[in-house]
Structure formats: structure tokens, C-alpha cells
């Protein structure tokens, strides 16, 4: 079989031949680099879907190369909305800066009585591996490069709702600009996440938290769309713990 990989130097797809057997895209890339073309550039680490290094786009959809099984004719490209450094290797520094801007951490710790239910409440959100797939899938970046983005807001939600946090207001205040209200709720991030995280729902919940801390939706006309008692629709995961 053949796969086609976007090469940055020529900005064209290059075709590589592979044996017709089941293999992960990462194994295919490693094999190509070792035996056919050492200039093919990509990044990888753990091979086990947990280090977040190898996300790319295959046929227009974000995938972890280590978790995607290659199909004949696949088109492999780098993540979107990230500066391309070379071939499939992109610059992830800016995406990570959104964590800094969102102050996604415990602001003020207080010891709390935590239960199994509390663990479940943030279990999925804390599965995030910072692979940047959700940033690549998010169409807001096409118009607003300063958007805090899905993974940072999911992380904000996870800390804001942690019972150990005694200063939820600060963290909520910090995601009002280019943050919770800038999401268009398209759910592309949710579709892209390789760990089953639902950033769209987390952002909706953050809107509710924002309202309860005295913030309002700057585009008032759409208020019904973002109300905290949202109870269905695209992207809603009935198993997400609510």
C-alpha cells in the first residue's frame, strides 16, 4: 500500500510504499525514516498514546500516529494552526502558552474531603496528554489566534471545580477574555480528542461557572445557547459524570 505525506520543503505530498500488513502510522513513519527516507521529519515518544508527541492529521482528521492503523491512500499532514517546523513537526510552544494565560492550576489550596465521586468528576479531563489535536481541530483559531483554546479551558474547568481550590473566582476571571465566550460550540475538539475528553461540554460548564461568579456573555443575543442548564445536543456525553 501507499501513503502520502505532506513535505514542507516542497509543500507537496510525497508517496511512500509500505508492505500490505497492519501497522500503526508511527511504525510506518519510523520504518520509512530508517529504510527509505531519513529526511522525513516527525516527532514521537512513547508509542502508547500517553506522551502526546505524535499527533498529526490523517485524511483531515487529527490522530495520534501511534494509535492510528494505516490505510492505503492515507494523506498525512501536520497539525493545523501550529507553525510548521518541518514536515509533520510543528511548534507547540504557543499552544502551551495558553495554559499560562489561563492560569490552569490550583490558585489557593485548601485541604478537602474528597470521594470516589470527586475522582470520577475530573477523571476524563485529567486524561489530557497535551497532544494539541484539539487546537488543530478548533476553527476559532482561523479567526482568533489568541483564543485560549480547548485543552487550556478543559484544564481550567478541572481546577476550578476541584474541591481543593478555595479561589475559584480568580481562575474563572482569568478566562473571560479570548476564553469561555469565544468558543463557537462546534464540538470539533470533542471529535478530535484521542482520549475521549469533551472540551465543548467543559467550556459550557465554565460558562455556567462564569455566570455564577458575576460574568455575563458579552454577546447577549446568544445567551440561551450557553446557559448552564444545557441538557442535550451534539457533543453531550451522558457518561461524563454529571
Amino acid at each position: 500500500m501507499k501513503i502520502n505525506i505532506l513535505r514542507s520543503e516542497s509543500n507537496t505530498q510525497q508517496s511512500y510504499a509500505l508492505q500490505d500488513k497492519e501497522t500503526t502510522l508511527l511504525n510506518a513513519l519510523t520504518h520509512i525514516k530508517a529504510t527509505q527516507d531519513a529526511t522525513l521529519t516527525f516527532t514521537a515518544g512513547c508509542r502508547a498514546s500517553v506522551c502526546g508527541t505524535c499527533a498529526v492529521r490523517v485524511n483531515g482528521k487529527e490522530q495520534l500516529a501511534c494509535a492510528y492503523k494505516v490505510q492505503d491512500g492515507d494523506v498525512v499532514e501536520p497539525l493545523q494552526y501550529h507553525p510548521i517546523l518541518r514536515d509533520l513537526k510543528v511548534d507547540k510552544n504557543k499552544a502551551k502558552e495558553t495554559l499560562l494565560k489561563s492560569t490552569a492550576w490550583i490558585q489557593n489550596f485548601t485541604e478537602a474531603a474528597l470521594t470516589h465521586k470527586d475522582e470520577k468528576f475530573s477523571e476524563t479531563q485529567t486524561d489530557c496528554i497535551l497532544c494539541d489535536s484539539c487546537y488543530s481541530a478548533c476553527p476559532v483559531y482561523a479567526v482568533n489566534p489568541d483564543f485560549l483554546g480547548p485543552f487550556a479551558l478543559t484544564r481550567v474547568y478541572r481546577y476550578a471545580t476541584d474541591k481543593r481550590e478555595s479561589d475559584t473566582k480568580s481562575i474563572i476571571d482569568n478566562v473571560q477574555t479570548n476564553g469561555v465566550w469565544d468558543c463557537i460550540l462546534c464540538g470539533e475538539c470533542t471529535m478530535a480528542c484521542p482520549k475521549g475528553i469533551d472540551p465543548k461540554m467543559d467550556i459550557l460548564m465554565l460558562r455556567g461557572e462564569s455566570v455564577s461568579h458575576g460574568h455575563t456573555d458579552p454577546s447577549f443575543a446568544t445567551q440561551s445557547f450557553g446557559s448552564p442548564d444545557f441538557s442535550g445536543g451534539f457533543g453531550f456525553d451522558p457518561n461524563s459524570g454529571f
Binding site: 525514516k33 502508547a48 518541518r86 490550583i106
Partner: protein, 532 residues
């Protein structure tokens, strides 16, 4: 000048950075990837601390279990320090927001953290976050570093330590993006660069980058490495892909069975014992499987969700209804940079090492599951303290750029030269030879053969080079430098394994099947012969 330069941005490096910064030191963390890409993310099962949240437990029991598993090769004072520091380290992780799994016991704080059984432990001692313990600790550490304005320099590959008169002065790095060689001077350096399991390329649970970069750099700078022959084989990696299935699968009640469906070992023995029992089944022509079907789908999804996914994806096996085919593969480097009881590298003043790259002599001949996340956090803090203290006593002075010039020159030559050998083939070959001849059960004939093959590969290193001549973002160059580091470390592993004519922990040698304390209750230390 920078007080503390931290090389490596996994759990050990991040904890050390937070600790040094807390003491007022200026800190920079340099890594070859991004902080959350590190091997720490792959630690699954848990982190040991004698909290006694689930049944009785004591720090003394944790110490005793660790010493027992080390088979006489640990420094008991270091073990005591690590185990005694464990509860307060968990308390600290609790305070920065690590999302641990929880009990419903009506208590508060760290007393609510769930604890599970791991091999070789006399109590349910491993604190966990499902089977994503390392991932969740690592990311929380990273968030906390951002909160504390820790500076990061990503995508910088360690070339060499800079030393003067036996003291560290900084290090040189290749900026992977630009291809420039840079020099960073510092009063203290902390190496937190990870283990060398990727020598077993293709036969390891480790990430591609676990190539012992810091360990090899210490050798080149005149420091010592020790206990290099002690490589832990994890009993349960997926048969086809060498991907890790956590020990907690057995801790939660999973069985190991052979083709006949028979159990053949107590699954909760330490890893060295279980790995050898599996190897011995292989010798009899049996295949070995992990059986967790009796735990039920609900329990599996609750306790081991990552494992279920990985089995389905990589082996087409649903653990709730099918057996999981497994094999033991290289998992953890007990040996590494030889450090003293302040974690300072023997032979290089002001240079500290922590985590898997270091041999702090807490794991000895066999590490217990749950003790590595403990080591990186408890000793990460200790390394940060010691390095910042050291920095306060250093007087500033000019540091020359000889190492920088030398490294630039080396890279220019590497780019200029032709090559006839594809080093990727040798990387495959080295991994296979190590698995087959420097593996779970060793003998002197095979070790000697491995050394001969290694010498051949080593001699042909001059004929290897870069197929990609791009100055920027050249991952072919990084692969080459990483492979070169493994080649530098490989002889120290084989020669110390050859020397050790006994069996102890993870080192098992046919013909010498028992412990020989009289001759070998000692650490085998290696260093490079210096050219005069």
C-alpha cells in the same frame, strides 16, 4: 549567571526545578522535547507511600520491602530517606492538585487517596490515579511549574557537560530547531535525563528517547556510572508491540497463565522473579498470557481503562473476554550515574543527578513497582535543595567556550562526512542482541558474543553518519546522537554483567545461579579511560 540548570523535563526535573526555585535559586529547565512528553507520563501503576489508607502500613515496612527487593545492593540510609519522605511527598502532590483515585472513607486530604497492591509489597501502598498515575502527576507538576514561572527551554538536546578542574560549569546543547550549538553556564547542574532502556530498541516499554543521554554525558565528562548491569524486565508487555501493561493488573487480581491455562508463578512476586518464571515457560515452548477476565468489564474500566484500550488497539484483544498475550521486556534502568548521598555525581562537583538516570542506590538489584514515581518526586525535591545550596557557595567567574567549539567542530565534521552504514539498522540489531544475549537470563558465552558484536558495531561507528544534511529540525541527527549515546553505554552494561559471576535481583546468570555476597555484594563502577 544561572544558579541551577536542570537538564530533562520529566517528573524529576520539574520537581527539582520547583524545589530549587522555592529556595530562591534562578532556574532553567532544558529538555529535548516538551515537558509533558517525558517518560514519566508512561508510569501507570502507582507511587508508594506508607499512608495506611487501606489496611495497616508503616514506613518501616516500606523500607524493609525495598531493602529486601534490592538484594543487598542498596544504601539503606538512602532507602530510609526516600521511604520516610514518601508520605509528605504525597501530601505535597495532594496540595498542588494531583487528581488521585479516592476512597469513600469519610476522611479528608491525603487520607482519602486510594492505595493498591503492587508486587513485592507487604501492604496496599501504591497511591494511584487509575492507571494514569505518572501522566497525572507529571501534568500537575507542569501546571505548578507554570504557576511558579519556571523558565523552560524546549527542543534543546544535551551534547556535553562543561567541566573545569572536576567541577561542573554548565552544558552545551544543540538547538534542534535552528541547528545551533549553545552553551549555558550555571553554578549547579541537575541531570534528570532518564534511563537507558532504549538500548533494547524494539524490546522495551520505554519511549524512543530513553537513550541515556545524561548518563553518557557524565561518562564523557569524567564521572562514573554504576550498577549498569541491573536492567529491570517488566513481566507484562504486550507480545506484539512491547507496550506496557501495568503491574497493577496483577495487583488487582490478574493471573499469568501458559498455553495450557495453568498458573505457574505467584504473580505478586517482585518483577525479576515473575519475569524469569515467564522466560522459563518460553523455554518450554509455552506462550504466556495475562488473564484479567474474572475481574469483569466494569472493574477493568474503573481501575485499568488505559490497559483495556491498549490491548484492543495493539493486540485486538478485549481483556474482559480474552487472554492478553504478553512477554517481558526491558523497562527500567536501576543503574546509572553514580551519585553520593547528596545526589552529587561522583567525579563532578556541583553536578547532581536524579531519577532514572541516577543510581541513588535505592532500588539496588531490583526496583519495586511504585518506587520510581516516589524517587523522582522525593529525590527531585532533594536534588533541587542540594543544587541550590551548592550554587550559593559558588563565586562567579569567566567560563571559556572550549566545549562549545569542540562540539561545533564535531557536528561540522559529522555533516561533512560520507557514510556507508545505515545506523538505523544497527540500532535494530543492537536492541535484538541485547534482548537475546543481555536479557532476563544471561550466561558468559552469550555476554561475550554480545560484546564481540558490540565491538564490531562500535568499530563501524566511524562509517555511520547523516543521510539528512538539513541544518534545522534534523531528527536524523538527533536519532544518530541518541544511538551514539547508547553505543557508549552498552559496553558498561555487558562488561559489568560479565564481571558479576552470580545471580542477584534482575541480573541472573546461568552457571552462577546463586547470590555470592563475599565476592559481589558491591557496586560495579565504570568510567571512561581518559586520554593523557
Amino acid at each position: 549567571m544561572l544558579d541551577v540548570l536542570i537538564i530533562g523535563s520529566g517528573g524529576a526535573g520539574l520537581t527539582a526545578a520547583l524545589s530549587a526555585k522555592e529556595r530562591g535559586a534562578s532556574v532553567l529547565v532544558v529538555g529535548k522535547a516538551y515537558p509533558t512528553n517525558s517518560q514519566t507520563s508512561m508510569a501507570q501503576g502507582g507511587m508508594n507511600a506508607a499512608l495506611g489508607n487501606v489496611g495497616e502500613d508503616h514506613i518501616d515496612s516500606h523500607i524493609a520491602d525495598t531493602i529486601k527487593s534490592a538484594h543487598g545492593l542498596c544504601d539503606e540510609n538512602m532507602v530510609k530517606k526516600m521511604c520516610a519522605d514518601a508520605p509528605k511527598t504525597i501530601q505535597w502532590l495532594e496540595s498542588i492538585g494531583v487528581p488521585f483515585s479516592r476512597l469513600d472513607n469519610g476522611r479528608s486530604g491525603a487520607e482519602t487517596i486510594a492505595q493498591r497492591q503492587m508486587g513485592g509489597a507487604s501492604a496496599k501502598r501504591a497511591c494511584y490515579a487509575q492507571d494514569y498515575t505518572g501522566l497525572k502527576i507529571l501534568h500537575t507538576l507542569y501546571d505548578t511549574c507554570l504557576k511558579n514561572n519556571i523558565d523552560f527551554l524546549n527542543e534543546h538536546y544535551l551534547l556535553n557537560l562543561i567541566t573545569e578542574d572536576g567541577s561542573v560549569r554548565g552544558a552545551t546543547f544543540l538547538d534542534i530547531r535552528t541547528g545551533e550549538v549553545t552553551q549555558i553556564n550555571a553554578k549547579s547542574v541537575i541531570l534528570a535525563t532518564g534511563g537507558y532502556g532504549s538500548i533494547y530498541h524494539g524490546y522495551t516499554t520505554n519511549a524512543y528517547g530513553s537513550t541515556g543521554d545524561g548518563v553518557a554525558a557524565v561518562l564523557r565528562a569524567g564521572g562514573s556510572v554504576s550498577d549498569m548491569e541491573f536492567v529491570q524486565f517488566h513481566p507484562t508487555a504486550l507480545k506484539g508491540s512491547s507496550i506496557l501493561i501495568s503491574e497493577s493488573a496483577r495487583g488487582e487480581g490478574g493471573y499469568l497463565v501458559n498455553t495450557k491455562g495453568e498458573r505457574f508463578v505467584d504473580e505478586l512476586k517482585p518483577r525479576d522473579v515473575v519475569a524469569r518464571a515467564i522466560f522459563s515457560e518460553f523455554q518450554k515452548g509455552e506462550e504466556v498470557f495475562l488473564d484479567v477476565r474474572h475481574l469483569g468489564e466494569e472493574t477493568l474500566m474503573e481501575l485499568l481503562p488505559q490497559e483495556v484500550e491498549l490491548c484492543k488497539l495493539h493486540e485486538h484483544v478485549d481483556p474482559a473476554t480474552q487472554l492478553i498475550p504478553i512477554k517481558p521486556v526491558a523497562h527500567y534502568s536501576m543503574g546509572g550515574i553514580d551519585v553520593d548521598n547528596m545526589l552529587e555525581v561522583n567525579g563532578i562537583k556541583g553536578c547532581f543527578a536524579v531519577g532514572e538516570c541516577a543510581n541513588a542506590k535505592v532500588h539496588g538489584a531490583n526496583r519495586l513497582g511504585g518506587n520510581s514515581l516516589l524517587e523522582i518526586t522525593a529525590f527531585g525535591k532533594f536534588a533541587g535543595e542540594n543544587a541550590s545550596n551548592h550554587a550559593t557557595n559558588i563565586v562567579l567567574h569567566e567560563i571559556n567556550n572550549h566545549q562549545l567549539q569542540q562540539d561545533k567542530h564535531y557536528l561540522e565534521n559529522l555533516y561533512a562526512k560520507d557514510h556507508t552504514i545505515n545506523f538505523y539498522e544497527k540500532r535494530e540489531g543492537l536492541g535484538k542482541i541485547f534482548y537475546e544475549k543481555v536479557g532476563i537470563v544471561r550466561d558468559n558465552v552469550q555476554l561475550t558474543e554480545a560484546m564481540q558484536t558490540l565491538n564490531v558495531i562500535g568499530a563501524s561507528h566511524k562509517d555511520m553518519g547523516l543521510a539528512d544534511k538539513s541544518p534545522t529540525n534534523n531528527t536524523n541527527l538527533i536519532d544518530f546522537l541518541e544511538f551514539s549515546n547508547t553505543l557508549q553505554l552498552a559496553p558498561t552494561i555487558i562488561s559489568s554483567a560479565l564481571t558479576r559471576d552470580e545471580s542477584r535481583g534482575a541480573h541472573f546468570k546461568t552457571g552462577f545461579e546463586s547470590l555470592d555476597d563475599e565476592k559481589f555484594k558491591m557496586h560495579i563502577v565504570s568510567h571512561l579511560e581518559r586520554e593523557s
